[in-house]
Symmetry: C2
Subunit: 393 residues, 2 copies
């Protein structure tokens, strides 16, 4: 048996293990100092009450013969798909039920979708980037090219017509930078994709952080997107589902390549290689989209957004260049005094006992930048910013 | 963008849609007749009490900040892996914790595992077969060869040393035939795989139906298997988790190809393309392996096995050749009077209003055979067999 040798080309990521090592070392040398973690990419607030109640009710149903649920549809139950259909409708996007596929999270489907594409395609990925886009394509042996996201384009790169790309990754609001494309910018990408017969894989996992009505929460708000874009979304950050696992993938019926309808290919892929998201979890997800659920999750989102504002205001006060934080849980800042990402990491840890994520871990254009997140507690976020104030004044 | 053209080589399966169509037609023409479905491949008994309680408790934990669980380890929580480790130990199989990966079901991982293997491998599949083995490899463009499972080998084919295969699928107890390999037979496969440097993908989703202590419930009961076999198991049939979604995949650390440890490759695959099974579901699964859980699931398994015995006894009485049903929920019978599979389907439906699954739907060697399952209710199973008695006497 021959193994898939492409795995040998994946670079090992030492980013988070190196962070853990440095933090542990500092902690054992300074047992009296309180370390505040603002590097965390996971939510910290619990599930909403209405979601917990739905999970419990569905669990009970599963224990009764008459209401027990065995195999469900691989693409998800209609009771959840109709809720997501209505959610899109709120932003003036019309989707057919068959275009919505319930997933166990955006990460899974961002990798799984690649099954539909030939190995012989060129992949375009922004730099800095969520490492999963690169690793999944490297595993499959695809050629990857990068497009620079940097201060000169506000970390929102636009298409270069001289570059030919078949599969394009866009993430807006962006991880790690928090930058958000406006409609005009996304329209340039959609037009590029339709002209070049490319496919856009649009990661909208952070759409719920957008509050400016003029900013697009879905790529389907852009004319022409339904013939060239697949959208991946998640309840992870929207409703604290990082450990509960539910998301959705939209594959419009109008995407056709070589006469083949991609929606039908994806349905065939999912019915063959997936057995659906647990009934219980889908019932919990359904509750997220009720009026009570939306109210509760909005309170949580506001909590994180207020944390982001506290961080952003402090950085502004100290003249530290940054983006994100407004329509995103991430704040992307330029390390002061031309420090490298890791120099700033050490500086923050040693002087203020704040842990963040070095930007260089997300690609070469991340060097000299740094990511803070708003997922910590309010108390810790305030305390961390007080330390900024007293150290930098 | 070029699509993956291998999808055009997957044959559409009309098996279950044709069954549904025929049954619906009969029902609308004969509204007074009660149809009994013994073709069903899904469990019908609800989840055990102890599992439901665990699901509810975990749901409550998720609603409290102090006990909330965000991202978990992609390969599963240790609390569940240790339980599975002990379960294997009961059958004298020692596994390291790092060799156990929690999955959302055997079907998913039987497909996902193929990521690790080069396209340029020959796949050996028994005929008749669970269609997923064939479809997932066709999608990836691998060459598939078949080995005959038929009455002359009791539907338990053994390796042919003149045939070179890289990836070998074995399923025991078998779907669809219910046939079970003994240790001597499995040893021949393990030896073949080690000699030929092949990998065995061992689907043990029905191991819990085995009651004969001499029959292997895991391929790791066979000496040498830990250098050549990956095992896929599921709580679907064991504990009624078809709609709850949890299973496990065992990748021993001693499987090495081209100097690469497959266990490490699989870990890399899972951490990149999967985000783990929901915490709530893993807590439910943990309860399955408690003494109370084992007692409760055994009652359910006994219920299904008694159904199987009722079917098998009736077939024996009428001199209908069949296998399975003893250590499996499936009964595989030879259609009487040399009927084809679909002729017998029509015969059963029209004369006795019993629905089963034509064997020809599982491959060419299934022609002339038929699958009945024990997942119906006791009442319906008895009623169906009474119809057999009165019609065939």
């Amino acid at each position: 048996m021959n193994i898939n040798k492409n795995y040998q080309n994946i670079s090992d990521s030492y980013l988070f293990s190196t962070i853990a090592k440095k933090v542990n070392e500092f902690a054992s040398n300074n047992p009296d100092k309180k370390i505040i973690r603002l590097g965390i990419g996971d939510v910290t607030l619990p599930l909403c009450k209405v979601v917990v109640e739905a999970l419990k009710k569905a669990s009970e149903e599963m224990g009764i013969k008459e209401t027990f649920h065995g195999y469900g549809p691989e693409q998800g139950y209609d009771f959840l798909k109709t809720k997501i259909q209505s959610y899109y409708k709120m932003h003036n996007v019309d989707l057919k039920l068959d275009e919505i596929f319930i997933s166990d999270g955006a990460k899974s489907d961002l990798g799984n979708i690649l099954d539909l594409f030939d190995v012989d395609n060129t992949v375009l990925v922004p730099d800095p980037v969520y490492p999963v886009y690169v690793d999944t394509n490297t595993m499959a042996g695809r050629k990857i090219i990068y497009i620079d996201a940097n201060a000169s384009n506000n970390f929102l790169p636009l298409p270069d017509k001289s570059v030919k790309a078949d599969i394009i990754y866009l993430c807006s609001p962006n991880n790690p930078t928090g930058a958000v494309y406006n409609k005009e910018q996304l329209k340039l990408w959609v037009d590029y994709a339709n002209e070049n017969k490319s496919i856009i894989l649009f990661d909208s996992a952070y759409e719920c952080f957008i509050t400016d009505e003029n900013l697009p929460r879905s790529i389907y708000e852009i004319e022409g997107a339904k013939t060239c874009a697949i959208e991946f979304c998640s309840l992870s950050k929207m409703a604290g589902f990082t450990g509960t696992r539910c998301g959705y993938t939209v594959v419009p019926e109008d995407i056709v390549f070589d006469g083949v309808i991609l929606n039908k290919m994806w349905l065939r892929r999912q019915t063959t290689k997936f057995n659906g998201v647990p009934y219980i979890v889908q019932k919990g997800a359904e509750a997220v989209f009720t009026p009570e659920g939306q109210k509760e999750i909005q309170e949580n989102l506001n909590y994180y957004k207020e944390n982001a504002k506290i961080i952003s205001d402090t950085l502004t006060k100290h003249n530290i260049w940054h983006i994100g934080g407004k329509h995103s849980p991430y704040i992307w800042l330029k390390c002061p005094n031309n420090m490298t990402s890791w120099e700033f990491f050490d500086y923050l840890l040693n002087n203020m006992q704040i842990v963040g994520t070095p930007g260089s871990g997300f690609g070469k254009n991340g060097e000299g930048y740094f990511r803070l997140t708003s997922f910590g507690s309010r108390e810790n976020t305030i305390e961390a910013m007080k330390r900024f104030d007293s150290f930098l004044k």
